[in-house]
Symmetry: C2
Subunit: 252 residues, 2 copies
């Protein structure tokens, strides 16, 4: 195994190392996506495409993979620089644009795993999943719950996320629905995480409509989880599929 990956030995075979090196991942969104990309690259995913039209803000630094010098810079340019500093030979493609209903499919094509780290402020994230299904690409959905990470995987033949929304009718699907679904699922199976409900409650009670709070703790957690799940997908190991999900936290 080459020197860079010599400490992956025992866990990752030489054959698996080769598989993930060439397994192309696309990240929709370079917020939490910026943390995931670094963890995946270090394990050995050397083919990564990242799409995001945003620029780095100071308020990103509490959890995203950027520095003070990156403030005002395109997120995709900043993360590309960071990833190439870690591995100059990696194949890092970036597009500083927002995914739209029109352009999404052209970016998705050719990838074997997608990570949907898009803001749920439009219909784009749900359409992204549908397009991935049509192109036979499993989609990881990471959620930053502050003290813990939540990840679910939409598979080519599985349910879509908005299958949840029918249960409480009416409103459009958003990340809060997903988190509420997960919390109810955990209660049903006898392992409640009441801290999640408390956070949702406080978030809903906020007077201003603000983006959800997020911590570095869950960013790092979710980066590890997505990297592990991507490894399992690429090397044809087992993994949970939506409506099942992974929750990782030291709480409870």
């Amino acid at each position: 195994m080459e020197d860079r990956y010599s400490r992956n030995r025992i866990y990752v075979t030489q054959e698996e190392q080769k598989i993930i090196k060439e397994y192309p991942i696309i990240l929709g969104g370079s917020g939490i996506g910026s943390a995931i990309a670094e963890c995946a690259l270090r394990l050995g995913f050397e083919n990564i495409t990242i799409i995001d039209g945003d620029q780095v803000e100071k308020s990103n630094l509490n959890r995203q993979n950027y520095t003070e010098n990156d403030i005002g810079v395109d997120k995709t340019e900043a993360i590309k620089k960071r990833l190439l500093a870690i591995n100059a030979n990696a194949n890092i493609k970036v597009h500083s644009t927002f995914l739209t209903v029109e352009n999404a499919e052209s970016y998705i094509k050719g990838h074997k795993i997608a990570i949907n780290a898009l803001d749920f402020t439009t219909e784009v994230p749900l359409i992204f999943d549908k397009l991935c299904q049509e192109n036979n690409i499993p989609v990881l959905h990471p959620y930053n719950l502050g003290w813990g990470g939540l990840v679910t995987v939409i598979t080519p033949k599985g349910l879509l996320l908005d299958s949840i929304k029918k249960t409480d009718g009416g409103e459009d699907f958003n990340e809060v629905n997903m988190v509420e679904y997960a919390s109810n699922y955990l209660k049903f199976w006898g392992t409640p995480h009441l801290w999640i409900d408390e956070i949702i409650q406080k978030y809903k009670e906020e007077k201003e409509q603000l983006p959800p709070p997020q911590l570095s703790i869950a960013s790092w957690t979710v980066a590890a989880m997505c990297t592990h799940i991507a490894f399992n997908i690429a090397t044809e190991k087992e993994y949970k599929k939506f409506p099942e999900f992974y929750l990782s936290t030291i709480l409870n």
Copy 2:
């Protein structure tokens, strides 16, 4: 709350943000320590001391917080640069030296949390814990198990790690003993993680005596866990103490 930490809201109160900002953490070892330091800094621990006499090698890049340009550079200088790039106002102190029985106490004094991320190749890590106990400082022990992170906390009045070694007598305590202990503990409580035993077995069967294999997945996981536990200690919340421990993985 200042702009940098505005997205910590709901999870972290303004008072807690102030507490952790001033809560001095010392990291013995800047291997896995380099990953922990960044996650902790981004949450808001702005007083961090790091001690390590090592230089960055290419084989570190699969899991530690360094870049290709850092190869050959002192780990402490490289991580200091990275942390100050994230927050130029943070108080980052580094010492490019190895901790010894003689110098450890002078470095430890004045800190409120210690993270023992030292190699278990000498008696220093165990003496580090003892000195922390004498100075009333809780010590976090992170272990990289590839697919998962293991963390235990030695408290000022609690047991020391080598209390484990009596059970199987003879040999000096090392990280493999700790991992075997954790695996047996999990079996006893009905939640076995057989993959851990398999890894230990394969590691013991290696012909050469090599450093343990480690993955980015567990580095990121352990960084999140240690940051969370440090937050709980600083803000006087509950946390598990050795001989209890935290294991975080998506396996099982």
